[in-house]
């Protein structure tokens, strides 16, 4: 009896502790989980939150630093438990499940008109699922070629620009010319071969996922889809102009070889420049070049970083107002500079700080107009197709274990079986 009484008292005490978005004094508190992690981007985000709080005493934003590691599982658990942050930082390729699951608020009608018109439609497509918009795409990064400028200059090869990029054939010839004993024209870090291959294949007009009139998606590995993988495979296997040892590496792993003069170029995400600035030996001259172009020009797929509002958030309008503040053009520029990425907003992209030649900003910014939603963005079943079919098939193809025919058969035949299960 005594134990029961104690338990009852404990429960009553616990019930007295409330946690909500509104305090007794009427002030609203919004929890903003940011995934900014580099010192500069954390500082920029914190400063912006402080500026908001200073000017909006009734709507206080609480900054919480999240982690890219396990963010999907963490958010899923928090959504299921009704304890998700109010404002959520994530990436567009992670939103599909949350949007379809009803965990994210549809932002149509909530966002300021200026923000809506400032971000191009192609970027909005990355966060549009069905009829709703479930996130604001705000930062993106193209894949670029980071090159040893001295090596390229000495070799006398034509230096590509966004206006006059290399074609994939030209790129292959040039990497052959740059190679020699123990030296490679390029090192492809293909730890994640699927997204790199698919996103770059847009430049050759590759599409891979084809949506029929009935809305069903099928995989077709056609001529345009084969340009990029074939180029890489020939660089590695035939020309010996691409290092075979980096095929399983992440971008950071290739940097020592790049700095050490083993590779002339490394295809990397635009934000890797921060690491290069930090780690490059003194006097190392490097530059940013556009990725090669194909039939579709410099097009490539991206999955922008996004800001969303939880469906459970009781103060969606206030949260949307905070997003409007955070993503004002001048603020978007601060966030972009902090993360060494590109803003999606057209006005932010005009900022002079993003057009300087220093650290290749101008080259990257010139690519912004060519960025498209990653091909797999809205395909249900893509994660399983990627893990079970495409990743091992591409790894085997790049290492020379299978040919293009076998790759095609696996991507299409095995892949369509996987996708079909999600589209019954």
């Amino acid at each position: 009896m005594r134990a029961r009484l104690s338990a009852l008292v404990l429960l009553l005490l616990l019930a007295g502790c409330s946690s909500g978005g509104t305090r007794d004094d009427g002030r609203i508190t919004l929890r903003f989980q940011s995934l900014a992690w580099q010192q500069e981007s954390v500082e920029a985000t914190r400063e912006l939150v402080a500026e908001w709080n200073a000017t909006h005493p009734d709507v206080r934003v609480e900054y919480v630093q999240g982690s890219w590691d396990s963010v999907h599982d963490q958010l899923l658990t928090a959504f299921e438990g009704g304890e998700a942050p109010d404002v959520i930082h994530d990436a567009s390729d992670d939103l599909a499940d949350f949007a379809h699951g009803g965990y994210l608020a549809d932002l149509t009608g909530l966002l300021p008109a200026g923000l809506k018109s400032d971000i191009p439609q192609r970027s909005w497509q990355t966060t549009t699922f069905g009829d709703g918009v479930y996130g604001v795409p705000f930062l993106q990064e193209p894949r670029v070629l980071v090159a040893n400028a001295t090596w390229l200059r000495k070799s006398g090869v034509r230096i590509p620009t966004p206006e006059m990029p290399w074609s994939w054939d030209e790129f292959r010839r040039i990497t052959g010319r740059l190679s020699g004993p123990g030296k490679y024209g390029v090192a492809w870090p293909l730890k994640e071969p699927v997204s790199a291959t698919l996103n770059l294949s847009l430049s050759a007009g590759g599409q891979l996922f084809h949506r029929g009139a009935d809305g069903r998606v099928t995989v077709r590995f056609e001529a345009a889809d084969q340009v990029v993988p074939r180029t890489i495979a020939r660089q590695v296997g035939t020309d010996r102009s691409a290092s075979p040892t980096t095929l399983g590496s992440g971008g950071s792993d290739t940097l020592p070889g790049f700095f050490g003069g083993r590779y002339a170029m490394v295809p990397l995400g635009f934000s890797y420049r921060q690491q290069i600035v930090q780690q490059a030996p003194e006097g190392f001259d490097w530059q940013v070049l556009p990725a090669p172009a194909g039939a579709a020009g410099l097009a490539q797929g991206v999955s922008p970083q996004t800001l969303s509002i939880a469906e459970d958030c009781p103060h969606k309008e206030e949260a949307a107002a905070f997003l409007g503040f955070l993503l004002r053009p001048e603020n978007m520029v601060r966030l972009a500079l902090g993360d060494w990425m590109l803003p999606t907003g057209t006005r932010a992209l005009r900022d002079p700080a993003l057009h300087t030649d220093r650290h290749g900003w101008a080259t990257g910014t010139a690519l912004a107009a060519h960025l498209r939603p990653a091909p797999a963005q809205t395909v249900r079943g893509y994660p399983e197709w990627k893990d079970k079919v495409a990743t091992p098939a591409l790894q085997e193809y790049y290492s020379g274990a299978i040919g293009l025919g076998a790759l095609r058969e696996r991507l299409e035949k095995d892949g369509n079986l996987v996708l079909a299960r999600y589209q019954r």
């Binding site: 992690w37 954390v42 630093q65 396990s70 304890e83 020592p256 070889g257 700095f259 050490g260």
Partner: protein
Amino acid sequence: MRTGTPARVGQYTALLAYLVFLALPFIWLLSTAFKPPRELGSLHPTWLPKDPTLANFRQAFAEQPLLRAALNSLLVALAAAVLAVLIATPAAYVLARQRTRLARAVTGWVVVSQAFPFVLLIIPLFLVLKNLRLIDSVPGLVLVYMVWALPFALWMLAGYVRAVPRELEEAAAVDGAGRVRTLVSVTAPLLAPGIVATGLFAFVTAWNEFFFALVLLKTPEKQTLPVVLTHFIGAEGVADLGPLAAAACLATLPSLVVFALIQRRITGSLLAGAVKS
């Protein structure tokens, strides 16, 4: 039987190789923590930093509340370990000494429960804790870690109890010792190494645990060290290696210190338990 010199040399060489193998990751971590960024990007990395620096430690401490996170981890891990041992010890004794069907079923269930991946449990667990208002609460996390460590602790301690000869307890009873006196004066001292080892296991498990802490704690001030460590890691696994290594050194220290302090005690107690039955 005496072992010959060549065999002895072989044994020590193998032991040394094993020790080096075990120590290499930690030595590399230490080396990375003291290297400036340019050395981290070197094609020919060296074991000893050429230009050692404390900048990584300064940056790690400046960017993240490492001390507070370490204190949080220490509190949570200690509490979980103590509670796990307090609950597991008597339970393990009963399981080991009572040869009933129930005891066997419980032991079987304990072993089977280890097979559940935590991702299956996390959402139901989250909902249970939410109903108990233990989300974003340090006691809630302690409870989870204690429960998480309990099955293995129970199973481990039951093994130690079985290793204590029943005859010793019977001898004490013959000498007139009561049940409690036997447990306190005869069984408990012999179980000490097992209790310490189990406590260590529970401590280290809780100290290193990441996902529960990430999901269950919302307030930044309550975050534990493994969660804070991931703040040095970005999208696609890109990491700020120097500060991450510096912070990771801090994270490994307590385990090292605890093991160093009590390893003599563990081996000493193990020898004390060696009796002829």
